[in-house]
Amino acid sequence: MSTPLSSRRDFLRISSGLGLSILLPALDLRAATERGPARPKSLITLWMAGGPSQLETWDPHPGTKIGGPTKAIKTNVEGLSIADHFPRMAERMDSVCVIRSLVSKEGDHERATYMLKTGFRPAPALIHPSLSAIVAQKYDEDGCKDLAIPRIISFSPNQWPARGGFLGDQYDAFKIFDPKENLHNLAARVQGTRQSQRVENLSVVEKSFARKRAQAKATLHEETVKSALTMMTSDQLKAFKIDEEPKAVRDAYGDSQFGQGCLAARRLVEVGVRAVEVTLDGFDTHADNFTGHALRGEKVDPAFAALIHDLKERDLWDSTVVLCIGEFGRSPAINPFSGRDHWPSGFSAVVGGAGFKQGLVLGKTDPEGVAKMPEDPIEVQDLYATVLKNLGVDFARERMTPIGRPMQFSAGTPIDRLLA
């Protein structure tokens, strides 16, 4: 067991101190209504859980030994073809960048999810914050106060939603399992004086527990109760009400949990939420890979395309990074169950929005599936350094962690070619 040099509580104290020193509350309200590049940046992550196949998404190789039955379609970017499960995205590819040569060393779901959510390989003694947590931490560091709803929201998460890691549990994502109906328990059971007496009573109980246990503060229990109480009465909750959108808009995103999650993500970003993660599970297609991907394509394609359309139309595109990625890709070889296995070398991602070039393709995988490494390999950490840079995060600055070891938010180098 490691001996921490400084406790998490020290760290929290220091970081909240930093936040206070540059507190500029007057700017906050304007911030949410600001449009264009001046608006504070948000991140939307479309998380393809289980490891999506590059060959059935953004990097098809039809007609080859490894291609399987998947067909390719042309897109509105000259020379770029994608899998035919994405007809609507084919008309939006001129807005985003495709990376076809991501490489990682993690082939186990949990470890790879860690790597692809944080940009770091799992390490003993220290848990790195996810990209989403880093963006939310920037919100606090900038002294923002405008949000009464959580800064990080994760729709339909699997068992590994975005986590705060060494930034603390208060940067864990707020999980909503079903964007259509799962936001409840927001109304107090009793009203008026009774509710306020309950809250008063609670502070009496809390006080006697914490009196002899200074460490109780680190559980963040009281803070979480306070946030929950604030949220219960906030106007911003309206952002969750996707049924207020015209039917045509809701239909455009598709009638799936994932689609409605993407619509909610757009509404949340609009009110100033800094990070939204929308998860689609089921990409771990060791068996029946092709059907599995066709079904998932039906959900991702309309949602992703509508999201890009809406963000552009509302002038939020230049202040939002959209990242569509999973923990790894899938093997070029097709196994006896018509499945593909884990493949962490040469997999694909799509990224676009704030600060990114549009209509760009990087990297190339071997159409014969023989060469393990792709051409122009791109490290996850470099992609994430680029994302963080475009989100306005000073990722290279070292921050003190609870184990007393200074760490950067990313050890990568931004990829110039991706920058607008």
Partner: protein
Amino acid sequence: MTRLRKSPSTFTLLLPILAVAGFAAVVFAAARSPVGVSGREVGAEISNLKPTVLVVDRTLAKEWKDVGATPASAATDLQVFRRLSLALFGMIPSLEEIRSFEADTRPDRLDHWTRRMLADPRFNDYFAERLARMVVGTEGGQFIIYRRDRFVEWLSNQLKDGVPWDHTVRSMLTQQGLSTDRPAVNFVAAAINEGDIDENKLAGRTARAFLGQRMDCAQCHDHPFAVWKQEQFEGLASFFGQTKQTITGVEDMPVQNGVQQEYKVQDRKTLKDRVVEPRVPFHPEWMPQEGSRREKLAAWITHPENRRFERAIANRVWGFVFGKPYLEPVDDLEDPKDGETDMLDVLGTEFREKGYDLRRLVQTIVSSKAFRTSSEPPAGADEKATHLSECHWAVFPLIRLRPEQVIGSMLQSSSVQTVDYNSNLLFRLIRITRRSDFVKEYGDFGDDELQLHGGTIPQRLLMMNGQLAAEVFEAGFFNPTSRLSVMNSSDEKCVENAYLVCLTRRPTAEESTHFSGRLKDLKGGERRKAVEDMMWSLVNSTEFSWNH
């Protein structure tokens, strides 16, 4: 990685059970002796366990001295009693149990009550579920072929019968037959996908659950820190290569339809199949010459010289009772170093030498100073010193309760009497609610049950405003709210009972004054509302949701 289907609301599911429970409570209360469940005790004799606990305490003392941690004073018996109930039953003690415990004046009553709780069917059921999560996870798998419920029931019986752990593990690894008829076979059956045995999944689970080491990553590449190589993982998987799913269940078939069965993997470079022979990653001499592939593997895993085997379970059980393992991550321990021994070796050696007795292992850990120390840091300790002490078990760490513990505790606090019953009602309930909105919304930890997370806003919303909490605390016919408000004569007594029911302690003078003031002069419905409000505040406190 599939998520659970939407199920009817928790309360709809709970309602009939609660009604039955209410009725049963009345019947049992009438029929039962005032001492409570039963005075039966199992596990090691107290005098016999003492030397073992002494060695553990000495190891702790040395650790504290080495790192410069000042231990907290001893926790009160009632605090330890609450922890024991949470650790062994997954719920807080009832008022009835508290009264009966307090009436016991023996100086070693905690030792006796530990033995008594180990004899309670709730222990077997609760630990069986936690062991099941460790070995097969939470997934449902293929129905008929895989019966998780039978598996948990079997584990519960193994615990009840005191079957040695090495024996239980060998059964899981080697059992043949049908999932219903031979429940141990479900370990293998859980890894059947479309009629085929997933050897990789089994190899990964075997290493994680029984050796505390994660070899799965070696499935695709060499392990980043440890010595595991891809070929070693394949060698391990090959032990399951002759195991088949047939009409008569899981069978070992070295020859099937006249063909010698081999474990083959596709070579990533040549894309051709190659045969992989079964091979263990270290100490092949522990493997017997005779037996099926799985029998050989089982003998190797449970070989008395295999330190990883005993260390892994010692660390798990430590994690089960504290909510946090001794070493992390629980399924990716560093290799034990030659010539060095730590707490896990101390516990592991004792465990092996005393016949791989899980109950004794539990008993040892909960009798140690680590489990019985206070969560209040020594006076004058600053944050840094407290954190250090928490890390080294010199101060009892604050650990968030598991969703089942919260739901179990809520149900318990809704009844003055013990929610147990011969039929293990609570655990049928947990099995239902595991799929229910409550646990889902509260956030089931799934297989990662020993990872530490802070509480979340949705959890607080659920506890403050949710349906289940409301139904439990808004006065119903059998919950304590009505009892407390009606039955107790003085305001002070009513407050005290509410504290005992929810927090297993008495209120401080300040708390007593505050809440008595809230109840003063109130009658009937108004009084009941004030009691409800008090209960609400107690269950929404840090103290209720965190073990301490």
